[in-house]
């Protein structure tokens, strides 16, 4: 009897459990409403610089291209009538593209060891280098390109026909006949999108800032772009894009002090890693004999300067560590000093004002990246993950300290979507940013 009961009981439990395993919890709103509102997303074109191209870790390579914010946007647009999106991807054989930086370990004092990746590159050896660097493998079907992100390009250079013969990232998107003949503005306007994103202007201040506010005499695009020139080109670009009622979204220029390239290396950090609380860093702020002073709050040492700090330089037989003595200060190029920060920030604000005015005049919403990154640089939590503008540990910025991680780009893509939804009353879905990586730690 007991045995039979046991069998019946087991059978009842197992069969009911099996039956009910099929019944799922359902949400009241079964299907999520997704709508493009008034937007025609059938042909989306992205216009911009390295951030738009998916540049990360100091290079442009396949992983970054695939995780570019325009590609994420296009993917999300596909829920709301978006068409296909062609990016000028590097091939699977040349997936490391221009080469990039990776984190290989840490020194005993805890500083990151960052090394270049030099295999499977798309760097050409069959043609002479351009002024902007070695040429890169050309994209086979330039007529189909929808992500026109060109690392290094500025509003100023976008109007120059010669630029295709200078910047290898632009050159690889052009046919041989177009190189040096077609300015970027003309090229992107000819794509005739139904929807565009435009995030251009960063390099009109950033090239100057990342060079310690020193103009490179060999690079005509290495200064701060004049606002009048900026307005003229930017207006031409935006009015050209909105021809025929095309809608889009615009992003402005972030504050340089919101990126780890400028904020990571500090006197405190140098003191800690040297184990010497008395160290003083001296910086050169100008050409004159007297333009040397101890570093102060508000001066920013560039990330790329880190390796040179403390270098044993020889002065007439005497060794003076670089940066630790008034006779061997950090050079003007190695530091963005206070006055230069104000100069760069002032120009950034002026150019952002122009961006806002041109966008407003053309009824295009602006994603205020200046405000977005400044509000978040000291840190925020999302999905139980901490983010900040800190180098490596902040999860937002890649190993070059300027460009974003795939996670950072995904967060930016979502903010673009929020800007679009808010202006156009659309309901384009955002993406789960946790599916994108941050810095890989060995």
């Amino acid at each position: 009897m007991k045995n039979i009961l046991h069998k019946i009981g087991t059978a009842v439990i197992l069969s009911s459990a099996f039956f009910f395993a099929g019944c799922e919890p359902e949400f009241e709103e079964k299907e999520i409403t997704v709508s493009a509102g008034p937007l025609d997303l059938s042909k989306y074109v992205a216009i911009g610089n390295s951030l738009t191209a998916g540049f990360q870790d100091g290079g442009l390579y396949l992983e970054g291209q695939v995780n570019s914010y325009p590609n994420i946007l296009a993917y999300q647009f596909s829920y709301a009538g978006g068409g296909q999106f062609v990016q000028p991807l590097f091939s699977n054989e040349q997936f490391n593209g221009s080469g990039y930086l990776r984190l290989t370990g840490f020194t005993t004092s805890g500083s990151p060891i960052i090394a270049p990746v030099t295999t499977s590159l798309a760097v050409r050896t069959d043609a002479a280098a351009l002024p902007g660097g070695p040429r890169l493998a050309k994209f086979a079907n330039p007529a189909t390109i929808q992500n026109w992100g060109v690392p290094g390009i500025s509003v100023l250079s976008s109007s120059q026909a010669a630029y295709g013969g200078i910047n290898p990232y632009y050159e690889r998107l052009l046919t041989d006949a177009e190189v040096g003949q077609v300015p970027y503005v003309q090229k992107v306007l000819s794509t005739k999108p139904t929807f565009f994103s435009l995030w251009l202007g960063n390099n009109d201040v950033l090239t100057y800032a990342t060079n310690g506010a020193v103009v490179d005499p060999n690079n005509p695009f290495s200064g701060l772009t004049d606002p009048t020139t900026f307005r003229a080109i930017y207006t031409q670009l935006v009015t050209g894009l909105v021809q025929g009622g095309t809608e889009g979204v615009i992003a402005n220029i972030p504050d340089v002090t919101a990126v780890p390239y400028f904020t990571t290396v500090t006197q405190d950090m140098v003191r800690r890693s040297a184990g010497n609380n008395q160290l003083v860093i001296y910086i050169r702020t100008g050409e004159g004999q007297a333009d040397v002073r101890p570093i102060e709050a508000g001066d920013y040492i560039l990330l790329t300067t880190q390796a040179a700090i403390g270098r044993a330089d020889n002065f007439n037989g005497t060794t003076i560590p670089h940066g630790f003595h008034p006779l061997n200060p950090l050079t003007d190029k190695e530091v963005l000093d206070k006055a230069e920060v104000e100069e760069v920030r002032g120009r950034t604000i002026a150019l952002n004002q122009i961006i806002k005015e041109v966008a407003t005049a053309n009824k295009i919403p602006v994603f205020d990246t200046f405000d977005f990154f400044n509000k978040r640089k000291s840190g925020f939590m999302q999905n139980g993950i901490g983010y900040s503008a800190a180098f490596i540990t902040g999860n937002l910025f890649s190993l070059d300290g300027i460009h974003l991680t795939p996670r950072g780009y995904a967060i930016v893509a979502n903010e673009f979507i929020n800007t679009i939804n808010s202006h156009y009353k659309s309901t384009i879905p955002t993406i789960d940013v946790t599916q994108f990586r941050t810095v890989l730690i060995p």
Partner: protein, 419 residues
């Protein structure tokens, strides 16, 4: 007696599912009661009175043993906050809350002695390591087992009292992802695993039957703290020395309150065949203020931090459960039951967490008893629980914002042997 009872449990998988109650209280303590909305405080149905009302035990005239088990299938769906559209679903293993009760007393004696073994609190929720909230939770397994030796005394024909000593044990296993990614793209992981120290509590009750057709019961079950000391902490993180230096903890302490219950139950017997029960239960969830872990080392902090305290506010509020149920004796062979309950969530707005994505829940149930022989009864029960869909920012608990929806299906079976 005790060792014999424990042996009866055999190798039953002792996991208990989350989705069947407010917080992590499990309302599955007797197969007859499950079939009628889990009422029972004002009734003297069977040996499970050891749990429901020790004061009712003395009223039972027969000695016996009862063994029951439920198969709890719970499912929780998650949708991220708008305008996101990512969804996740739990893949919870089937929970098997069980109960064993035995009682004995001489035929004419006002005394009854009994022992119960049951699983009043527990939770098993498995979200996996791919969902958006994985840094809040991958999976949680919380188990408790209460052993309750009980004595009951019938003071007069109309009044019975009883008291039980509760001896609780349990265990907890909690796993989360850590937001660090190694060179091969693998995410970090933390696992906390510990056994709860044996703790003591009590369960007292009184059953009064002023007239033949009405009985009133009142019980109090004390709060017990499930305390883990020296539980194991295991990390998977990138191997680089500066990272490893931030994860030095290998032991943790934590305490989880298992809240007290006050229950008032009314039994109405309009005819010989019909019994109606109504229970109102107050659960002292207010005791659950925060989920605190004390680690003996670092959990993601850089030196010079030496030890870590993780303290996430929970701030539960006391909650009420309202139950109603009835049974009807169709024949000497067959008794049928039906009922339901409404269980208020103890989780306040802003405090939702993926380990208990709780909401007000509604349950309906049905059951029957087959008298197989003079000495053997077979109980069958089925309970369906549907929690209200709940959207929460989870900004106060450090939980996972979004919308959660839970359902559970719980068939159960019990065997009673009377002697």
């Amino acid at each position: 007696m005790r060792s014999k009872l424990l042996a009866l449990l055999g190798s039953a998988a002792l996991t208990v599912g989350i989705a069947n109650a407010g917080g992590y209280q499990v309302n599955l303590q007797g197969q007859k009661q499950i079939g009628m909305g889990h009422v029972g405080t004002g009734l003297a149905l069977d040996q499970s009175s050891i749990f429901f009302n020790p004061g009712a035990l003395a009223r039972l005239r027969q000695n016996g043993v009862q063994v029951g088990i439920s198969a709890l299938t719970s499912k929780i769906a998650y949708r991220e906050p708008s305008p996101g559209i990512s969804e996740a679903r739990t893949d919870n293993p089937m929970g098997t809350p069980f109960q064993v009760y035995a009682s004995y007393g001489a035929a004419e004696s006002p005394w009854r002695f009994g022992i119960g073994v049951y699983t009043p609190y527990g939770s098993t929720v498995t979200w996996g390591n791919a969902w958006q909230g994985r840094f809040g939770l991958n999976e949680l397994t919380l188990k408790t087992i209460f052993i309750q030796p009980t004595v009951s005394y019938q003071i007069t024909d109309k009044i019975g009292i009883g008291a039980g000593l509760v001896i609780s044990t349990g265990s907890v296993n909690l796993q989360r992802s850590i937001p660090l990614i190694d060179a091969s793209g693998r995410e970090g992981h933390i696992e906390l695993d510990g056994k709860a120290k044996t703790a003591l509590g009590f369960n007292v009750g009184i059953l009064v039957q002023p007239i033949e057709k009405l009985s009133i019961g009142l019980t109090y079950r004390s709060e017990i703290d499930a305390t883990v000391e020296g539980g194991d902490v295991t990390f998977i993180t990138p191997g680089a020395a500066p990272v490893a230096a931030q994860f030095t903890a290998n032991q943790f302490d934590a305490t989880l309150p298992l809240p007290d219950n006050i229950t008032l139950g009314i039994g109405i017997m309009p005819t010989d065949k019909l019994t109606i029960g109504i229970d109102v239960q107050r659960v002292g969830w207010g005791a659950y203020k925060s989920l605190r872990f004390d680690f003996n080392g670092r959990v993601g902090q850089a030196p010079p931090v030496e030890t870590t305290v993780s303290d996430a506010p929970r701030n539960y509020k006391d909650a009420y459960i309202y139950r109603i149920g009835a049974q009807y004796k169709v024949s000497d062979m067959l008794t049928v039951r039906a009922g339901g309950y409404y269980d208020q969530t103890p989780v306040r707005t802003g405090y939702l967490t993926p380990e208990t994505p709780d909401a007000d829940s509604r349950s309906v149930s049905a059951g029957l008893t087959l008298a197989v022989s003079e000495k053997v009864d077979l109980d069958l029960s089925f309970s369906y629980i549907n929690k209200k869909e709940r959207t929460d920012l989870a900004d106060k608990s450090g939980g996972v914002p979004g919308t959660f929806k839970s359902v559970a299906y719980i068939p159960g079976v019990g065997v009673n042997y009377k002697f």
